[in-house]
Symmetry: C3
């Protein structure tokens, strides 16, 4: 991005840059009940969400990106890898990629994680992207964009570290991700965006307990709280797929976004269970509204097929009556992982305010109310009665 420290050779053949995304969160939960039911909802704590160091070497049309991450979506304190991939950019408006990568299928994945309206993606997006894309997924594929449209497709494998966490895996996941988005109408004040994404895991990691899958997510707050939303453990999984539309409408300084996804899980014949088994269907959606009070509004980026963060016209400088950029957001997010006798449902109402003193720094404050139905699993030890609660969390962010 602009402002990222870069050194280049005089003949332009070489370039090297070091970028940063630093996000640190602090806050807690209030009024979680009817009882905490054994779940962990910290009253007040802190977490480094993302501490990514983006190292990038370019030689002519070839680019290699390696990005360690010292933050965590739950409990900070360990080092991991966000990406490590090799790219060929010699074809016009096209990037071909191989290696650990984050293939994008949803609008909320295509947005850069430093540009989100809220602290976290909606739960349904978080679940769908983890089927066969998400952070650190081994990928082979590419993306191509034009002024009015963008398409991308990747074959994918395991996530980095999958076999470190479970070294009994004897057959690793394979899958795919595709995305196609366009802008049927564009004017100075209006931007209409629509598209679709689809993903599938042709087979999931096969470890000592066979091919298992559990859809699960937190309450869209990154403080390491207990995941209440769950599909339950589905065993002997032969295939998972998800598909859905993504829509957005910008009118002047106002942006409305929505995505819906349906997830299908097929259980299949295994050595232990040779008979044909069940299918499960889950779905979820969100609707998010955003208004930019100060600064330039969120606009569409052709290169990534997604909306970006507000821009700052003049850096924060009270002496000259410059206040940076300010935006308000509201979101309704519903995820239904209940099917038959398994899984439950979560609804989150969220509101937030973001302040940008300049293009590199940002301060966020989110309030949310969540409602999660009971876990029907007879062995569940938390969330026996359904749970509601609230959270207030702030974030400080720097991005270069």
């Amino acid at each position: 991005p602009n402002g990222r420290p870069t050194i280049a050779s005089d003949d332009k053949a070489y370039a090297f840059s070091i970028g940063l995304l630093a996000q640190e969160d602090f806050g807690g939960f209030m009024g979680v009940g009817p009882s905490k039911s054994g779940g962990n909802f910290n009253n007040f704590t802190q977490n480094a969400r993302r501490l990514r160091l983006y190292f990038s070497w370019r030689y002519k049309d070839w680019v290699v990106n390696v990005t360690p991450d010292f933050g965590s979506s739950t409990f900070d304190g360990s080092a991991s890898l966000f990406e490590a991939n090799i790219n060929y950019t010699g074809l016009r408006h096209t990037t071909l990629t191989v290696g650990y990568f984050q293939p994008r299928m949803e609008e909320e994945s295509a947005e850069r994680s430093g540009a989100f309206e809220f602290l976290e993606r909606p739960a349904i997006v978080d679940i769908v992207r983890n089927i066969a894309s998400g952070v650190g997924r081994f990928s082979v594929g590419g993306e191509h964009y034009e002024k009015r449209w963008l398409v991308g497709g990747y074959f994918t494998g395991q996530k980095v570290g999958d076999r470190n966490k479970d070294n009994t895996i004897t057959d690793s996941q394979t899958g795919a991700v595709v995305r196609a988005v366009g802008r049927p109408y564009v004017s100075k004040d209006i931007d209409v965006f629509m598209g679709a994404g689809a993903t599938a895991a042709f087979k999931v990691n096969n470890g000592s307990k066979g091919r298992r899958y559990t859809a699960s997510s937190n309450t869209e707050i990154p403080l390491g709280e207990t995941n209440l939303l769950t599909s339950g453990v589905l065993s002997d999984v032969s295939q998972i797929w998800a598909v859905g539309p993504q829509l957005a409408l910008r009118w002047k300084r106002f942006l409305l976004k929505s995505e819906y996804y349906h997830i299908g899980v097929q259980q299949g014949a295994s050595v232990e269970n040779p008979s044909v088994l069940r299918s499960f269907g889950f779905d979820g959606w969100y609707v998010a509204a955003n208004y930019t009070l100060l600064g330039n509004p969120r606009i569409y980026s052709e290169k990534i097929g997604a909306f970006t963060a507000p821009g700052v016209t003049y850096d924060f400088d009270p002496a000259h009556n410059h206040w940076g950029a300010l935006e308000l957001s509201g979101r309704w997010s519903v995820t239904n992982l209940h099917d038959g006798d398994t899984g439950n449902q979560q609804t989150v109402w969220e509101s937030g305010v973001n302040w940008y003193p300049n293009r590199h720094f940002r301060f966020m404050l989110d309030y949310q109310h969540f409602i999660v139905s009971r876990d029907p699993n007879s062995k569940a030890t938390v969330n026996l009665l359904g749970t509601t609660g609230n959270a207030v969390v702030g974030r400080v962010q720097a991005a270069f």
Copy 2:
């Protein structure tokens, strides 16, 4: 620091730098007894104490620092985070900070860890700084300096990774650190430094075993040896505080330093123990003397409120009879964690010689003798009789 690789934009709005502190230690223990009593005192081993990569991005008055560390105070081999914080430097001689940081309260904390007279801080400083400051503590606050004085204050939270190590924590620590130091008399040959620091943990991390606290430290040698010095485990802790003076006197090439701290621990009413409980008092001090044989002596830095390492007039070059800088140090360090039926006491006598071939490299050699009284805990498995011993440890250091 000077000599750190930096790139900046022509308009001075941007700057980026990568610094380093690399320290590797090798040595071992001799004559530890009356018996090793189960403790681990390696005869000869190595440890990477600090391998910090200081990444720093600046945009105008805003600075973000992220510093991974591949060293360890005990057993090297893992990656951790030294700091990740956002700073505003727009007010004169003032830095405002939020994020994971090392707030400084003691003179031995304010000194840069590449400038220590010895391999490690005195045990009492190590214990006091870990109450509510220390490495990687979430902090919100600031520091202001003038030519003759410096004040700093921070509200603090958990340390990075606290909930990674214990994911049962449902309420995280809060605390504070304050420091005020000054130089009542300064001349060319004489520098008189005095000040005070105070810290408190208003509440400590609440995990599955409740709010517990153990003051403990090693023998001031960073080879992963068993911690013999301990207060014992104090449970149902409601509050911890510490306060004490810091003094130093420089006379030409001679530097004398001393700090004393008193620690108070209050046990308090918990759900399980509703009655009012005990208070504990611990204390400790050190006196350190230093003489710079070759090179420029240790002088006071106004910006950090502490003394710095000797300077090298001419880089090491035997052909021109230049030998860099050389200093000798001696220290007496006493820590008394004994109160009633719990805890014990440690005395360490230490001497050291440091050689600086140039401003970026340093070689250290320390010898110490330690005396630790018996652990009165009836369940203790080591140090049943009290322990004495010696250690000889060298260090190679590079700093940029």
Copy 3:
């Protein structure tokens, strides 16, 4: 290397660079049998083999290198340290080193890991180098080269993280490595290389189970598969040594290489076993042939005493009929760890093709067939009958 991003001060006193070696592998095993016998041979998976970020600071004749690694020889997903050392280069053609380092004894260790003919070193080299050298070994020593010869020698200690993995170690390893190589005949078309290396562990790490040693390696494929080749656990080890010749002959575009090593293990008197115990002898060798079809052939590097990867005359550019460099390789590798009633033997036949579109990127494809004799250990749970199998693995690589 050339093309590594570097910044330097105008007076040449300072230089700083950031290099990269990124290697990601994907592939799997076929036809492993007579039965998989409990071993893990993944059908298709991925692994980040090396993700090394080479940070290097130089001040005049002093250089410090720190290199984190986010890859793994087995299961990626964690961060480790490749090296962290301080070097003095003030003597002509000589480097003196202290700190965590990779001391080189074998030709296949002296080759840079981005230049290998195959994905992995031969098993015997992997085993010998791990006795007292290998990655992240604490070392004190140096290397000197001339046009026709090179000598190096190091005293060595533990590997970084040894005591993190086993914190019961109370006495750490000490050892040594020496190497001497030369080129008795050199002409434009012919290069004759010969030399020898020797290593010894004077004592091995002493943990809760005493001083133990197990020689073991995988099938020369880095996908985290089960190690079938093993010497069995040898206890009460007093000393380990290894010695052997290294030979190579280049004729125009053809390169033939071979190394042989013999390993001796002495068991010795311990407190528990006061009697004199056994000696074990193991050995292994490889022969590798390489032909460069396109581009400049592999040539000898005086500075490292080893052969380098092929060079690219013109970068890949099909429009101008430039195809980069292409080489074919074949290898026969035998390792015999069988002695009396312990250990077994492995033979690997390997062939590979490497394509270099330019000097910084490389694509590799290896096929191998392996034959491992049965593990005679009566408590073994895998490889009860001997195992044969095949593997096909590709690699994408970027190096700066």
